[in-house]
């Protein structure tokens, strides 16, 4: 493959949701690859992975590096790290993108350390600088800001990316890719961490990331009862309820409903935002919403400024009226 630059995407496929993240990253990698004249390579580690080789090809990868072996059946940081480290040292990719799933967030930092390179966490945007560097856009601490991060010298340039940040390319099963099936390295380390038991759990199974309608509530809902009504609206609309951190901490919503930098990154077709100020830590998770309707009594709130429709009124009142009106109108 000569001096062809390569952008790698780690094939995270353990469940449906992680697999979507991989597809989203392949899509973004295609976009970046055009700008630096690189190929897009998906790395698939595991056992019986043909399904993913096909899928990643159909979704835009130019090359697939597959290491398929019985020993790799279970996700294990120890073995996956060794396999990946070996591949990287041999092939020297320019960029590696990894989904910020739980596994990705455990795996990527160790890989970066082992490769003596930088890693930025939870990016909400990626770009290429004039110098051809990977521009990693990550929410930065405290203030209402985003930070632009680069890895000037070390290679590969690495980033983890929050699920839902990018859109996958529709599949095309006519596409071809160069599939390289590679043998397992011979010096695989023993697994120091033993998987005693595991079970796929239904809990937290449903994710808000793919929901097309989200109703979010913040501190401005005022109390638990008002907040509860958001569920009624969400039910009418066939959507999910999200919450800001104060709403979660007040016990109005479960932690799994948290939307933002520390929680979910949503990209609904329509987002209703009730009584939310729009702090960057929250809006970092809603940037991909197509259409935003915000209700806040303060027209100056940041959430109102980023809304398509900003309703200046009491959140509880609007919510009640909206529910009443929708009940009259909805026809299946």
């Amino acid at each position: 493959m000569g001096n062809q630059k390569s952008i790698w995407v780690f094939g995270d496929y353990r469940n449906y949701f992680q697999n979507r993240v991989t597809l989203q990253l392949i899509s973004k990698a295609c976009d970046l690859a055009r700008r630096i004249d690189a190929e897009v390579c998906a790395v698939v580690i595991g056992h019986v992975v043909d399904e993913y080789i096909m899928e990643y090809t159909a979704h835009g990868a130019d090359r697939i590096l597959a290491v398929d072996h019985e020993i790799l059946k279970n996700y294990s940081a120890d073995t996956y790290l060794a396999v990946m480290e070996n591949l990287v040292r041999e092939r020297k990719p320019e960029i590696i993108l990894i989904g910020a799933t739980d596994f990705g967030r455990e795996f990527a930092p160790r890989l970066a350390k082992r490769l003596k390179t930088g890693l930025s966490a939870d990016c909400v945007g990626l770009d290429i600088t004039d110098e051809g560097l990977l521009l990693q856009i990550a929410p930065s601490f405290g203030g209402n800001m985003l930070a632009e991060i680069v890895t000037p010298e070390r290679r590969p340039q690495m980033a983890t990316v929050r699920p839902g940040t990018f859109k996958e390319i529709p599949h095309n099963y006519e596409r071809g890719a160069l599939v390289e099936r590679l043998p397992l390295i011979t010096n695989l380390p023993g697994q120091r961490v033993r998987l005693v038991e595991y079970e796929k759990s239904a809990e937290r199974q449903h994710t808000m990331e793919n929901s097309s309608v989200i109703v979010c509530g913040g501190r401005g809902m005022g109390n638990r009862n008002n907040f509860k009504k958001l569920h009624e609206l969400a039910k009418l609309l066939g959507g999910d309820v999200g919450a800001t951190r104060p709403a979660v901490y007040a016990g109005w919503a479960d932690h799994s409903a948290l939307v933002g930098q520390a929680g979910r990154h949503i990209k609904p077709k329509i987002l209703f935002s009730f009584g939310i100020s729009g702090a960057i830590q929250h809006t970092a998770g809603v940037g991909e919403a197509k259409f935003i309707v915000a209700v806040n009594k303060n027209p100056q709130a940041a959430m109102m400024k980023m809304a398509d429709v900003a309703i200046v009124a009491d959140a509880g009142d609007v919510l009640n009226t909206f529910i009443k009106e929708l009940k009259k109108r909805i026809r299946e």
Binding site: R14, F17, Q18, D102, F103, E106, P109, R110, K113, R114, G118, L119, S120, A121, D122, L135, Q136, F141, N144, M145, L146, A147, E148, V150, T151, V193, R194, L195, V196, Y198, K200, E203, R204, V213, L237, P246, Y249, H255, A262, K269, I270, T283, F291, V293, P299, M306, A307, V309, A310, I311, V312, A313, V318, N320, T321, F322, E325, K328, R329, I330
Partner: protein, 277 residues
Amino acid sequence: MLNLIVCVKQVPMVTELPWDEKRGTLRRDLAAGMMNPACKHALEAALQIKESRPAHITVITMGPPAAEEVLREALAMGADRGILIGDKLFAGSDTYATSFVLAQAIKKQCPDYDLILSGCYTSDSETAQVGPQLAEELDLPAAAYIEKIDITGRTLRVRRFVDNFRETLEMEFPALVTVAMENYQPRYTTLAGLERAFKEENIVSLSASSLGISFSTMDTHGSCTKVRKVFLRKAQKENIFLKGPAAIVVNEFLKNHEDKVSSAIGKDIKKEENDNG
């Protein structure tokens, strides 16, 4: 006796944090910083281990001189010793550099540890990288986001919920875990306990030179990432404002956007001709 190390970090106080209300007084004592919430969960996990068997807890932090306060708070909660690593050379370190420095201090000050606990992430930088990178630096078996710890002899058994899987993992000491926020609710620190802790002398301060770290060391082990700039996120929307009594704004919104809503929810909400809503 088990030798436990807990990595803690001081982060800027954010008024939204619930424990802010409970500990109003404490906060004022601690001025602008507070112990990162996730680190507190990690410390609590260590304290609970210590309740069930003989153990010694070292808390370690890298930060400015003021970060000594979080070590004192940790002592007040029940830790035995604090290590403060501070040097201008380390300012602005990314996780790559931070984990290197922490590893050097651990090798120097408490090489005979059994278990290192870190928070799962910090509330200021939220990278969740320092724990795993420290494990890599010290070549330790590790597990992130653990919710439960059991120890039998030299074997550590942890439970966690990651990516929709409930997992039970086992490894031998020495090891490292990052502690999730689900469990191990931190205990309350009394003001008296805190006052006492501020008089204690078991805090060690380390500088770059005492760790044998120089500018040239930080050339190879220092930050790999560079922050180019920080900026405000801006909106590129039409941004229509509606104002007035709820009944009026809701109707106006629906009148103008019923198509949008209908298509998003996949149901028809258009008003019928003779609908008397």
